[in-house]
Every structure is written in structure tokens, then in C-alpha cells.
């Protein structure tokens, strides 16, 4: 299955965006994001803490709806999903 991962703002600068990935069936959001982020240490460190958990301020969305980062380890990805990962917003 194919999913798209979008990083924004600082995370985009560090990791790129609109990344197409092909996770295995039953993969969790956190696993997918961790695998992609691991390719660039600075990007990984921006998003994950030393225990491999999402940093407190990181926001994750699945198809435009927020997923609590604490739940991202058990939230399963479906084919065609769009996963977004970004730092706190600053619009307006």
C-alpha cells in the first residue's frame, strides 16, 4: 500500500515533504514516521525524543484529522492515507 507523508515548516526543511512510502500492512503511524525521519538525524531529533517518542509539541494528522501522538503507536495506516507531521502552528 502507498501513503503520503507531509512534513511542514522546520520539519519540511529538515526532512523534505510529500514523501511516498509503502509501509507493510498493519504498520502504525509512529513506525512509518520514525522510519522516514531516521534517514536524517537532525530531522529525527527534531521530532522524536531520546526514547523514540514524539516530542511533546509535535502534531500528527491522519487524513487531515489530528491523532494524539500518544496514540500514534497503535493507530494503523490504511492505503492512500495522508500523514502530516508538523510543529506548533503560528498563523494569523
Amino acid at each position: 500500500m502507498t501513503v503520503k507523508v507531509r512534513f511542514f515548516a522546520r520539519f519540511r526543511e529538515l526532512l523534505g515533504t510529500d514523501i511516498l512510502a509503502e509501509p507493510g500492512k498493519g504498520a502504525a503511524i509512529s513506525t512509518l514516521v520514525r522510519d522516514i525521519a531516521q534517514e536524517k538525524k537532525e530531522g529525527y531529533d527534531a521530532i522524536f525524543d531520546e526514547h523514540g517518542n514524539f516530542r511533546e509539541f509535535v502534531i500528527v494528522m491522519q487524513n487531515g484529522k489530528r491523532v494524539e501522538t500518544a496514540d500514534a503507536g497503535k493507530t494503523v495506516i490504511a492505503d492512500g492515507d495522508e500523514i502530516a507531521v508538523f510543529p506548533p502552528v503560528a498563523g494569523g
Binding site: 515548516a9 510543529p87 494569523g92
Partner: protein
Amino acid sequence: MISIQHEDVDIGKLINDAKSSGTGAVVIFDGVVRDDDIREMELEAYEEVALKELKKIAEDATTLHNLLHVDIIHRIGRLSVGENILIIVVSAGHRPEAYAGSRYIIEEIKKGVPIWKKELTKDGGRWVPGDHAHGSGKPT
């Protein structure tokens, strides 16, 4: 009009179009690139989601504050000092509703809409930290 766009808008025209026969007050908020020792500002949005959230905020503001008309135009891309970032136009029968509705919209945008700003200075760039540490609204 609810929009995320690169282009600026004609605020005078928006004000005229915001008026209907019941309108007694129009309140406009215009957020501007401030010269905090910067050259330019670069704005980025998660466009599809941000637009959906702006529409939701406009609907909620209309219901909560009895508004007759709402425009929200949030610009993205590179903007110079003095340029408009965000324009909110609301009309209502009376001023308390118009002020409250306008304020509601800007505070909700600050709280939760996935848009980011980077200040471009002579030494490089700096992402602006949000007003709200935990960012984009509540989980739904």
C-alpha cells in the same frame, strides 16, 4: 470569501461586499508583517486542512456572534514588511457582535490553523513560535 492565497486583496471592495441591509457595523482586522529587524516573511500552510479549518471558524463565529458576513483571507508565500498577512472582515447588525466575532476568528486562527511563519533576517531565518505551544486545535 474564505481563502489561502498568495495575492493581496482589495480591502475596500471586501468591505462593500460585506454589507447587507441589516449591517450596522463592519469590523476589519488586518495583520501586517512587522519590522522586527526582518527583511521578509515566508508563510507556509497545510493548505487543504487550513482552508477547512478557516471555514469551520467562520461558521462557528457566524453562529456564536450573529454575524451577517465573514471573509478570511490568509496569505502565504514571501511577504515584505508592511504587507498584509491576514485580513478578516466581519459584518453584523451592531458593533459588539462585530468586534467579538472578529476577535474570535483571529484567536481561533492563532490557536489551531496549520500555518507557519518564518522570519527572514540578514542572518538567515527563524521560524516564529506559535502563541499556543500545542498547536493545531483539539483532536477530533
